[in-house]
């Protein structure tokens, strides 16, 4: 059936090879340019592990300490490198442990391919040992999934998996392979997939729509750009910068758009959303043309839709047709790849500078600086703030690090204050908000960009969800810098309890272990800071280390992250305190 539905190009490997399904899987991965995978072995995937042993000089397998870690590592790798991440696991519990990573990759459009072992075909549906319906379970959280029950299917299906994962709006694909298909032999022949007839990954933007969009932008008095991860996935960073500079349009990032544009660029005005910057949120409701590029108007970005940018004409550049007019109605939808759309739009755009309008962002920034930023970055109170730690990391890394964050207050603070001068440098779980993401994602991020400094900033809660990956870091000598901002609370939930549940701190106070001893137990260099006077030196020492390094910073226990749009409120009603 696959030959009917998939187009193929002949590759330079016409001669047939008679090999096992398990070996074929390795050849497929190699043919796709994969040299690194993450995973965890078990009964139903053992034939593949046996082949991995034989091919270890060409294909590195990293044993994470939990399958969830393997998926997040694959995600971190994919996000930093722009390539497809790969994770493998056994059937049953191995497969179900992938679900969180799949869901995260699905909502954050991350290209990963997961391969799971499955009980032999003749046992399917019999509740055999470690049988689980991972196709059924993973359907809502995958871009595509497929169960292979015959060895001959392997090459075409894996080719299709990689094609689907990385094309169009990227996403996770899961291929479940029964054990008999791994053992059985096939005539191996690999052809990369070039297309699937029922799937059109990228639409083409019409000239008329580009003209209409350009006309709107050219006559706008207060145009405003909000850019998301689509810019990074579409490799459209340069085109975005050109548009911003040519038309003099202030631009703000969504949490996943961060790092697509230099954070120090004068027209890069800050972050939108619940804990974004003051001006970018408030002025959303004052712009006359809102140009949304590669973002999907998530509810954490828009707040109440009834009061979101109602005065503005909306231009929505988006690759996924299902995202257009889903949350915010677009006056002009430019359905396609961000790079192509922007480069065709640029010649139609008139030079402009919009000084007065840009000044409004400046004034709002000054207000936010006085009320919030100064206190975060240059506090005068005794306790350490998360903001000043992030600022020290900026200084020590000269804005060049990949920053991986977990979920909670520290994440919002990092996405507000971390500075970036390179794209693909902000790795965080945006759409799903997966605590436990950062430590394993940092493993993938480091391996996707070995030459770069990778700093994981994690809360004391989320850290303990995937803390076992310290062993993976040590075993593979990955010089990741791990910073735990310890407030002895599930800080973000505690903040909500304080603000909206009259400080009833239900199950958000944590009695924590000695994190330094734990890191040392995993053979890592470790340090702890609890006073301001020691912070700079400790951060510098950590960054200077050539080895993995753990730094615990004891921060103020009950600090809140501001500004904040209370959930369901309007972006105009953002609170500075």
């Amino acid at each position: 059936m696959e030959t009917i539905t998939s187009k193929k190009t002949a590759k330079n490997n016409p001669e047939k090879l008679r090999i096992s399904g398990a070996e074929a899987i390795i050849h497929c991965l190699l043919a796709e340019g994969v040299d690194l995978i993450y995973g965890y072995p078990g009964g139903a995937i053992m034939p593949v592990y046996d082949e991995l042993y034989k091919f270890q000089d060409r294909l590195t397998h990293i044993l994470t300490r939990h399958e969830q870690g393997a998926t997040h590592a694959a995600q971190g790798y994919a996000r930093v490198s722009g390539r497809v991440g790969v994770a493998i696991a056994t059937s049953g519990p191995g497969a179900t442990n992938l679900v969180t990573g799949l869901a995260d990759a699905q909502i954050d459009s991350t290209p990963i391919v997961c391969i799971t072992g499955q009980v032999p075909r003749h046992l399917l549906g019999s509740d055999a040992f470690q049988e689980t319906d991972i196709i059924g379970i993973s359907t809502p959280v995958t871009k595509w999934n497929y169960q292979v029950t015959k060895a001959e299917e392997i090459p075409d299906i894996i080719a299709k998996a990689f094609y689907i994962a990385r094309s169009g709006r990227p996403g996770p694909v899961l291929i479940d392979i029964t054990k008999n298909a791994q053992f059985d032999e096939l005539d191996f022949h690999y052809e990369a997939c070039k297309g699937v007839r029922s799937y059109q990954p990228v639409a083409k933007v019409s000239e008329e729509d580009l003209d209409a969009a350009a006309a709107l932008i050219n006559q706008a008095k207060k145009p405003y750009i909000v850019y998301g991860q689509g810019v990074i996935l579409g490799k459209a960073e340069e085109e975005l910068k050109q548009l911003v500079e040519k038309a003099g349009i202030p631009a703000a990032w969504t949490i996943l758009g961060l790092s697509a544009m230099n954070t120090d660029h004068p027209l890069n005005v800050g972050m939108v959303g619940m804990h974004g910057n003051y001006g970018p949120n408030v002025l959303t409701n004052e712009c006359d043309v809102l140009i949304a590029i590669g973002m999907r108007f998530d509810d954490r970005v828009t707040g109440s839709l009834d009061t979101y940018a109602k005065q503005a004409k909306i231009i929505h550049m988006e690759i996924d047709p299902a995202e257009v007019n889903k949350n915010v109605k677009a006056d002009i939808a430019l359905l396609g790849d961000a790079k192509e759309t922007l480069s065709r739009l640029l010649p139609r755009i008139k030079k402009n500078s919009h000084e007065a309008w840009r000044n409004e962002f400046k004034l709002k920034y000054e207000e936010e600086f006085r009320e919030v930023i100064e206190k975060d970055l240059h506090p005068t109170k005794e306790g350490l703030t998360m903001g000043e730690v992030v600022e020290e990391i900026n200084l020590a890394t000269k804005n060049k690090a990949v920053i991986v964050t977990d979920v909670g207050q520290h994440q919002m603070v990092a996405c507000r204050y971390a500075k970036f001068d390179q794209t693909k440098s902000n790795i965080t779980s945006g759409g799903l908000g997966t605590m436990g993401f950062a430590l394993p994602a940092a493993i993938g991020a480091k391996m996707g960009a070995m030459e770069r400094e990778v700093v994981a900033i994690i809360g004391d809660g989320g850290y303990q969800m995937t803390i076992q990956e310290l062993a993976t870091i040590y075993q593979n000598k990955l010089a990741i810098k791990i910073v735990v901002l310890n407030n002895d609370h599930l800080g973000m939930v505690r903040q909500w309890q304080e603000l909206f549940f009259e400080s009833r701190y239900a199950s958000t106070v944590m009695t924590n272990p000695d994190f330094v001893k734990i890191a040392e137990g995993y053979h890592l260099r470790a340090n702890r800071v609890s006073e301001r006077k020691d912070l700079k030196k400790a951060v510098r020492e950590m960054i200077a280390s050539k080895e993995p390094y753990f730094l615990e910073v004891k921060v103020e226990k009950e600090d809140n992250v501001f500004p904040m749009i209370p959930s369901g409120a309007s972006v105009s009603d953002i609170r500075l305190k």
Binding site: K143, N145, R197, P321, V324
Partner: protein, 176 residues
Amino acid sequence: MEKKWFTISVYSENNVGLLNRISGIFLKRHINIEGLNVSKSEIEHVSKFTIVVFTTEDWTRKIVAQIEKQIEVIKAFYHTDEEIIYQESALFKIASHLLFDERQIQNIIKESNSQIVTVSREFFVLAKTGRRHEIDEMHDQLEPYGILQFVRSGRIAVTKASMPITAMLNAYENQE
């Protein structure tokens, strides 16, 4: 926004998992599927799902976009009742003696334009094809006499406008 009946037509590749994928989209939005029919279509190897929902046009449009996004879906459309020709069919199983004891039943059979599919000593089976309300009417008329079994199919529909699926598939094949 006003709720209405919408018929969603989905052209897709044959795939075991696809029904699950499609129904999951309705599940996520808590929309009840009022009718579902899967069959082959006018194109070889292409299946057609006909799904009936009662909801707003806005939601229907969003659901259709999310259905169409699934890899194996070739194209999905939605239509109002005015834009399609549609039918459902139903089977009624009724005790045979009623055919002779209750003269009114013979009138119902005649007036409803239904057919007797089979007759045995114990029971006979009536088949009725038509609009939902016609089947409902017939059901209401027969009910007082006792219906042993009743079943109604999902809606099947063809559109008044043409469906450009073959052209789409040809365009794909000729792309190179």
